[in-house]
């Protein structure tokens, strides 16, 4: 008992079974770790490793299909697995609280933020309304929201993502719980907002002595805030150690692999692009989304005056936060949307204003790979049909297209015999490779990767990045690489352009921009990159 008293959370030999027909038997297999008061423990692992299941089990929120079959979860010494629903309800918010990944969906859109915090107080305390209001203003002030009065009267959609997450944190901490579970709370946020939220969680946790279980897939975040780290693989804790120790000398092979896969912030040395032939040039490219017709003054500029150029064999990165207009630029260049102004010159020919039929010859030469590998393949068609569609549109015979598809499958390191399989039979990384094969099938000159590795786990991400780079070299492609992740940009780009609010604020060779960022926004981005002081990739550049 005496040991358990120090632990705010003590997970012992936890086993949680998956329903029959799942891809493995156990969601969590004998996991054990602990969180002390005033300590921040990171639970890291790739998708499907069981991180969120452990969080749900601790809150007593396991989906009905999952059953805890063994072990204990002691929160402040009390086993929540054995607790009845009524007791769990008492414990939630008072002893353990949780914040979620997507604050927009975790908050009720039809209640003001103040009412939602008040609900917690009204449920768990007997305070009169005036005292509750004072307490709410206090906590809103604590989470550093400006103008607390206005904030508590606002509805979630009126706040920014970072502000919403602060409201979630206020709600979770208003009753001073012993344990805070944060399930990827910054994954949906921009990197600068993420840095602020991480600092806030760290600060509040020190102030209140709360134990924090922080779930993440991002080793940058781990290096930034964790005291201790538990590494989870397929429901098993393979390593549990203090952060410095684990990052410096990972004991388990899997941990070593994960850490090695984290791209370094130090740009990789790349040989200068020899070719002088410019594949793509844009001049003053702009896109304005009109809100309804007639009301011109409400128009929102998503991209403004974008001028860039890419040479054969070169990778240009566009980095920026969400809403900066980088995807709009990519979609304009791929002509999935029509630019409002400016020119898109492909080998000197302007394609910006071409109509559907005239665009067909152009489409051959620019291909795009999208972010979400689960939605970018038609689930009703085999991957083979998806890959041969392009060549057959341009008059290739089915046999020729299929033999081309088999070669491409080998190029992206997939079994050519799996061409007649459906997308759901492939993993996320494999699907993304199929998408790359589809894009390459009509032999484009320019490949656009729109956040193509953002949805992938780090180890898979590293493979796809390496593959993209290899293909670019082998086929002498020009590549436009859109990403929000500076680490990724550092590894694959020759030059980068930094976008903010629809404009390019800085552009230059990667090494130069990373070493001497000129624009203040670029500097802010670098400042905010989690774990920037920790070099993961000692073995990176050769």
């Amino acid at each position: 008992m005496s040991v358990a008293e120090h632990h705010v959370l003590d997970v012992r030999n936890l086993t949680i079974a998956l329903p029959a027909h799942a891809d493995r038997e156990l969601a969590v297999a004998g996991a054990g770790f602990s969180v002390n008061a005033g300590e921040l423990v990171c639970l890291v692992g790739e998708s499907g490793s069981g991180k969120s299941v452990i969080a749900q089990a601790t809150m007593g929120l396991l989906p009905l299909a999952l059953r805890a079959t063994g072990g204990q979860i002691l929160v402040d010494g009390e086993d929540v697995l054995a607790a009845k629903e009524g007791r769990l309800r008492e414990l939630r918010c008072t002893r353990m609280s949780m914040i979620f990944q997507e604050p927009m969906t975790a908050l009720n859109p039809v209640m003001t933020c103040g009412d939602q915090i008040d609900e917690v107080l009204a449920t768990h305390t007997a305070l009169p309304a005036a005292a509750r209001r004072a307490r709410i203003l206090d906590i809103v002030h604590d989470v550093q929201l400006p103008e607390p009065e206005r904030m508590i009267a606002s509805y979630p959609h009126q706040l920014s993502g970072g502000q919403r997450q602060r409201v979630m944190i206020a709600m979770a901490l208003v009753l001073n719980p012993r344990l805070l579970i944060a399930d990827e709370p910054t994954t949906a946020l921009d990197v600068t907002t993420q840095a602020q939220i991480l600092a806030l969680i760290r600060e509040l946790q020190r102030e209140h002595g709360t134990g924090v279980l922080f779930i993440t897939h991002d080793f940058g975040v781990v290096a930034e805030i964790a005291d201790r780290v538990a590494v989870l693989r397929q429901g098993e804790v393979v390593e549990f150690a203090p952060t410095k120790e684990l990052l410096a000398a990972p004991a388990h092979e899997y941990t070593r692999m994960l850490i090695a896969a984290v791209p370094s912030l130090t740009p990789r040395h790349r040989s200068a692009v020899a070719s002088e032939s410019i594949v793509l040039r844009t001049e003053g490219l702009s896109k304005t989304y009109a809100r309804g017709w007639l009301r011109r003054e409400d128009a929102v500029p998503a991209a403004k005056g974008i001028s860039l150029q890419i040479r054969r064999g070169e990778t240009l990165g566009i980095v920026g936060e969400s809403g900066s207009g980088k995807s709009t630029v990519a979609r304009c260049i791929a002509r999935l949307i029509e630019p409002s102004a400016g020119r898109i010159l492909l080998d000197g020919e302007d394609v910006a204003k071409l109509r559907a039929a005239a665009l067909r010859p152009f489409r051959r030469r620019v291909q795009i790979v999208f972010q979400d590998p689960y939605r970018s393949l038609n689930p009703r068609r085999t991957v083979g049909e998806s890959i041969v569609e392009g060549p057959m549109n341009y008059g290739a015979s089915r046999d020729a297209a299929l033999s081309g598809a088999r070669r491409l499958m080998e190029l992206v390191r997939l079994d050519p015999r799996s061409l007649d399989r459906y997308p759901h039979q492939f993993s996320g990384g494999q699907r993304q490779r199929v998408c790359i094969a589809r894009a390459l099938a009509i032999e484009p000159d320019l490949l656009i990767a729109d956040e193509a590795v953002s949805a992938l786990d780090v180890s898979v991400q590293a493979q796809v990045l390496a593959l993209l780079d290899e293909i670019r070299m082998r086929l002498d492609l020009a590549m436009l690489f859109i990403t929000h992740d500076l680490r990724v940009a550092a590894q694959v780009c020759d030059r980068i352009a930094v976008m903010q609010q629809g404009r390019i604020v800085e552009e230059g060779p990667v090494a130069e921009v990373f070493a001497h960022p000129k624009h203040e926004y670029t500097r802010a981005l670098f400042e905010a990159a989690p774990g920037r002081n920790w070099s993961f990739a000692r073995r990176a550049s050769v």
Partner: protein
């Protein structure tokens, strides 16, 4: 060189699908199986009516008017011998055999239901695909559809029937018209969400022309919700046909339908309830079966319902 090598070994791919086939899931659903079984039974009864000991459903016999169920009639053959005819469900005010009329009526009712569903789904699908894809048409066509939807289906049907002579074709047309906007709305909403999917954009960027794009990538997504919608249209069409016939603007009484059998039994309902009772039972059973089938199909085909545990 890249920090992590590109995958060198060729990856194997999971050999079998985790999810079981749609057919297997349909056969496991009790509502689908029971609903389909009842429908098949009623269809078989309708088709086999001539061999199920029926007489001419239109034959009038004033001597046996308004007899209760189970009445046995002594009839004289042409050669002077006698035979007996059992009226299992009694006779109506003109002495017609209700049993024969109900069995033959199943043909008309099901024919109307299935035809209406097929035609309205086909037309609605075409319009829906076009307005969902050609954005400038959307505003115009959808306002017309809203206009049609604003008029109650039965009133519209009565108006359409009264424009021409009452008959099977007129009734089918009259029921199809108010059903089309519902199908268009459904198809349009699916098209609007699917056309934003990255795989549709990917198909556009590999140069797929519009027509193949719609047929290959968008149309298949509309099929599962349409199958479900079609079953509801079958049920609604059978009911509206019955109501039209009941109101006397539907199919003429020479062709028996459940609706006009009930309409004719209305006057003497208190004394001879069997004229309404038996066709009513069949009608209710059919609607129940169609709805069960529709619910079951929705649960099985709608991907959102798959997550339900």
């Amino acid at each position: 060189m890249p920090a992590v090598e590109a995958p060198t070994a060729i990856d194997s791919v999971r050999p079998t699908a985790l999810q079981t086939g749609v057919r297997a899931r349909l056969l496991k659903s009790p509502t689908v199986v029971v609903g389909a079984a009842i429908l098949v039974m009623i269809l078989a009864i309708g088709l086999a009516a001539p061999w199920l000991d029926t007489v001419d459903p239109a034959a009038i016999n004033p001597s046996v008017r308004n007899k209760g169920p189970g009445f046995v009639e002594l009839a004289r053959n042409a050669d002077g011998t006698q035979r007996t005819i059992e009226h299992r469900m009694g006779t109506d005010t003109l002495g017609r055999d209700v049993y024969s009329r109900v069995l033959y009526g199943a043909r008309t009712s099901l024919l109307v239901g299935v035809t209406v569903a097929a035609i309205s789904v086909a037309i609605g699908l075409c319009i829906g695909l076009i307005v969902g894809y050609v954005r400038w048409l959307d505003g115009i066509v959808m306002r017309v559809m809203d206009g049609v939807m604003a008029i109650p289906a039965i009133l519209l049907a009565i108006a359409v029937v009264s424009l021409s002579s009452a008959g099977l074709v007129a009734v089918i047309v009259a029921i199809v018209i108010p059903e089309i906007p519902r199908v268009v709305r459904l198809v349009r909403s699916v098209v609007l969400s699917v056309r934003e999917e990255p795989y549709v954009e990917a198909a556009i960027s590999v140069g797929t022309p519009t027509l193949p794009l719609v047929i290959r990538h968008i149309l298949p997504n509309t099929i599962p919700p349409l199958i479900v919608q079609a079953t509801y249209i079958v049920a609604v069409a059978i009911l509206i046909e019955a109501i039209l016939s009941f109101l006397g603007v539907g199919i003429p009484p020479e062709t028996p339908t459940w609706g006009n059998i009930m309409a004719e039994g209305r006057a003497l309902f208190r004394i001879f309830p069997h004229n309404i009772l038996y066709p009513g039972i069949f009608l209710a059973l059919t609607i129940l079966a169609v709805n069960m089938l529709g619910d079951g199909l929705r649960d099985t085909l709608d991907p959102r319902m798959k997550k339900r545990l």
